[in-house]
C-alpha cells in the first residue's frame, strides 16, 4: 500500500477531477446549474486547485517520485501545471458569454474542461510512459467531445470527427512505440528507460529505433508539428472558439511538457539519434506553418498555421538540450499562452452568429470602430511576429540564441527567415484594421466584460513579459530539468 502522504501530493489532480465529476452530476439534476453558475463553480475549483498546487510545491523542495516511480513532482511539473491552470481559467472566462449565446447545455461543457485539465496536470507529472499515456487520453477524449460540442453545427462535427479519428490513430502509434520500447528496455519508467535503452542500443536492438520513432510520431501529432499537423487547421476552425484557444494554449503546453520529459529523461541517452529527426521536424514546421498561413483568409485558420509554426520554434529550443534551451522554451510557452489566448479572445469578440466575423476582411476599419480593441490586436500580432517590446520577442531571441549556442545555426537561420515571412500575414490584419474602411461604421460594443478583461489581461501580460522579462525568466528557470543526454 502506498504512503497516504503520496495521495496528498496528488490532491490538486484529485480535486480538479472531482470538481469535474461533480459539475457533470449536478448539471443533469433538474435544469442544471445554468451557464454562469457552472462557470463560477469551475473557476472556484480551479482557484482551489491552484492553492493546493502551491502547497504541494512548498512541501516538495526538490523533486520527488511517487507511486513506485510512476509519478513525479518537480519544478518542471509545477511550472506546467500552473500554466495549464491559468490557460484553463482564461478559457472559462472566454466561454461564459459564448456559451450563453450558443444555447447548448453548459454543465457538461465546464465539466469536460475540468476533466481535460486534470488529465493535463497528470501529464505534467507523469514519470512512466503508461501513466503519461493514460493522462494524455484523459485530456484527448475530453477534447474530442469539446471540439464537437456544437453538435448542430456541421463544422464543429467535422472538427470533432477529424480530431477523434486522427487523434485515436496517433494515440495508437504512441502506444505501439511505448510497447516496443518496453520490449527493448524492460521498463516504462522514464529514469530506468534511459539506462535500459542505452544497453539495448549497444546490443543493436532494432526495437529501440522503431520504438522511439513511433513514440515521437505520436508526440509530434499532439504538439501539431509538420508532418503530423494535418488535423490542426480543420479542428481549430471548426471547434467552438474558446475550445480552439484551449487547444492552442493548454493542450499544446501539456503536450510539450510530456514531449520534453520523454525526450530528455526517457530518451536522453539517445540524443545523438533523435536530434536529426527533431531538427527536420522543427524546420519543416517553421517553413510550412508560416508559408501556409500566408494564403489563409480565415483568421482562425491562419492562427492554426501560426500555431504549427510556433511549435517549430519551440522544438528548436528542445533540440538545443541545454539549460538556456529549456528555460527559453518554458518562457516562450508562458508568453505564447497569453498571446494566443488574447488573439482568440479577439476573434471571439468579433464573431457573430454562426461563423461570421472570422475572415481577415471582417477586421476592416476596426481602428475606427473600436480603437481600443484594434490596439490590443496589434499587441498580440506584434507579439506573435516576435517584435519588441513584447513577450514574443524575448521568447524568440532566447530560442534562437539557444539554437545557435548548441550549434544549430542553420536552424536558427530558418527560424529568423520564416519569422520575417510571418510578418506579412500578421500585419495583413493590421493593415485591414487601420488602412481599410469598414462596411459598417457602428462601434464594436464592449458588451462582454469577461472577454474584455481577458483581452486586457493578456495584452498586459504580453507587454510585461516583454518589458520586464527578468522575473519570468526566473520562474522559467525554476522549471529546469536535468538533461540526461549532454
Amino acid at each position: 500500500m502506498p504512503d497516504p502522504q503520496e495521495f496528498l501530493l496528488l490532491a490538486p489532480e484529485i480535486l480538479l477531477a472531482s470538481a469535474g465529476l461533480l459539475l457533470l452530476l449536478v448539471g443533469t439534476i433538474g435544469r442544471g446549474l445554468g451557464n454562469r453558475h457552472s462557470a463560477v463553480v469551475a473557476l472556484a475549483s480551479l482557484f482551489l486547485t491552484a492553492i493546493d498546487l502551491y502547497a504541494v510545491g512548498r512541501s516538495v523542495p526538490g523533486s520527488r517520485l511517487l507511486f513506485h516511480g510512476t509519478f513525479v513532482i518537480d519544478g518542471f511539473a509545477l511550472f506546467w501545471k500552473s500554466l495549464i491552470l491559468i490557460a484553463t481559467a482564461l478559457t472559462i472566462l472566454l466561454s461564459i458569454r459564448y456559451m450563453e449565446e450558443a444555447g447548448y447545455r453548459a454543465g457538461e461543457y465546464y465539466a469536460l474542461l475540468l476533466l481535460a485539465s486534470s488529465g493535463m496536470l497528470l501529464m505534467a507529472s507523469g514519470y512512466s510512459l503508461l501513466t503519461i499515456w493514460i493522462a494524455l487520453e484523459t485530456m484527448a477524449l475530453a477534447s474530442y467531445i469539446l471540439a464537437g460540442y456544437f453538435k448542430r453545427h456541421l463544422r464543429s462535427n467535422e472538427a470533432a470527427l477529424k480530431y477523434f479519428i486522427l487523434g485515436a490513430l496517433s494515440s495508437g502509434i504512441l502506444l505501439y512505440g511505448i510497447s516496443l520500447l518496453y520490449g527493448a528496455a524492460g521498463t516504462v519508467q522514464l529514469g530506468e528507460l534511459a539506462r535500459g535503452l542505452e544497453l539495448a542500443r549497444a546490443q543493436g536492438s532494432l526495437l529501440v529505433p522503431l520504438g522511439w520513432i513511433l513514440l515521437s510520431a505520436g508526440l509530434f501529432f499532439k504538439v501539431a508539428a509538420v508532418p503530423f499537423h494535418i488535423w490542426t487547421p480543420d479542428v481549430y476552425v471548426g471547434a467552438p472558439t474558446p475550445i480552439t484557444a484551449y487547444l492552442a494554449a493548454a493542450s499544446k503546453a501539456a503536450s510539450f511538457a510530456i514531449l520534453i520529459r520523454i525526450f530528455y529523461e526517457g530518451l536522453g541517452t539517445l540524443y545523438g539519434d533523435w536530434k536529426w529527426i527533431l531538427a527536420g521536424v522543427a524546420a519543416a514546421s517553421m517553413i510550412w506553418g508560416n508559408v501556409a498561413a500566408l494564403i489563409q483568409d480565415n483568421v482562425k485558420r491562419m492562427l492554426a498555421y501560426s500555431s504549427i509554426a510556433h511549435a517549430g520554434y519551440v522544438l528548436m529550443g528542445v533540440l538545443a538540450a541545454s539549460e538556456i534551451g529549456l528555460w527559453s522554451v518554458l518562457y516562450y510557452l508562458l508568453a505564447y499562452t497569453f498571446i494566443t489566448m488574447g488573439a482568440f479572445a479577439m476573434v471571439l469578440l468579433l464573431e457573430r452568429r454562426e461563423y461570421a466575423g472570422e475572415t481577415c476582411a471582417d477586421y476592416a476599419g476596426l481602428a475606427q470602430r473600436s480603437p481600443f480593441l484594434a490596439a490590443m490586436m496589434v499587441i498580440f500580432l506584434v507579439a506573435l511576429t516576435g517584435i519588441p517590446p513584447t513577450g514574443g520577442f524575448f521568447g524568440k531571441v532566447y530560442l534562437f540564441a539557444a539554437a545557435v549556442q548548441a550549434g544549430w545555426t542553420w536552424l536558427a537561420a530558418v527560424g529568423v527567415v520564416t519569422s520575417a515571412i510571418s510578418l506579412y500575414y500578421y500585419f495583413r490584419i493590421v493593415v485591414y484594421m487601420y488602412q481599410t474602411d469598414s462596411a459598417e461604421a457602428t462601434p464594436v460594443p464592449l458588451r462582454a466584460p469577461a472577454l474584455v478583461t481577458v483581452i486586457t489581461l493578456c495584452a498586459v501580460a504580453t507587454l510585461v513579459l516583454g518589458l520586464y522579462p527578468e522575473p519570468f525568466i526566473q520562474i522559467a528557470k525554476s522549471g529546469l530539468l536535468v538533461v540526461a543526454g549532454r
Binding site: 500500500m1 465529476l21 457533470l24 452530476l25 443533469t28 439534476i29
Partner: protein
C-alpha cells in the same frame, strides 16, 4: 528474436491458406447467374423492401456503447474479487473510488434520459 519465429511461420501459413482457399474456390465454383447472389438473403424468399427504407433507432448504438462501459467495469471487478483477501482495505477503497466514478456516469446517463426507451 528466435522466439518470434513461430509467429512468422503462423503468419505465412495464414496467408498461404487464404490464398489457396480463395484460388480453389475460384477454380471450382459454378459460374451461374449473378442476380440471385446479389440478394440480401439467399434463402429463396424475395425481399419485400430495401434495408435502408427502415430507420433503426439510434438508441441501439447508444445502448451498445453504454454496455461496453459497464462491461469493462466487470472486467475490473472480477480480478479484484478473486484477489480480495490480498488487496485488503486499500484495494477495497480503490475499487469503491472506481465504482463511484462509474456511478457518476450512470447517474448522468440516467438523468439525461439515455436509458428511456419510448
Amino acid at each position: 528474436m528466435t522466439s518470434y519465429l513461430p509467429i512468422l511461420v503462423f503468419t505465412l501459413v495464414a496467408v498461404l491458406f487464404l490464398t489457396a482457399a480463395l484460388l480453389a474456390a475460384r477454380l471450382l465454383r459454378h459460374a451461374g447467374s449473378a442476380s440471385m447472389n446479389l440478394e440480401p438473403y439467399e434463402c429463396g424468399n424475395e425481399a419485400l423492401t430495401f434495408a435502408h427504407d427502415h430507420r433503426f433507432s439510434i438508441r441501439y448504438y447508444l445502448i451498445a456503447v453504454l454496455f461496453v462501459i459497464f462491461d469493462v467495469e466487470t472486467v475490473f471487478l472480477f480480478p479484484w474479487a478473486v484477489l480480495f483477501d490480498q488487496l485488503a482495505l486499500f484495494g477495497f477503497i480503490e475499487m469503491m473510488v472506481f465504482l463511484a466514478i462509474l456511478v457518476v456516469g450512470y447517474v448522468y446517463i440516467w438523468n439525461r434520459g439515455a436509458l428511456r426507451w419510448v
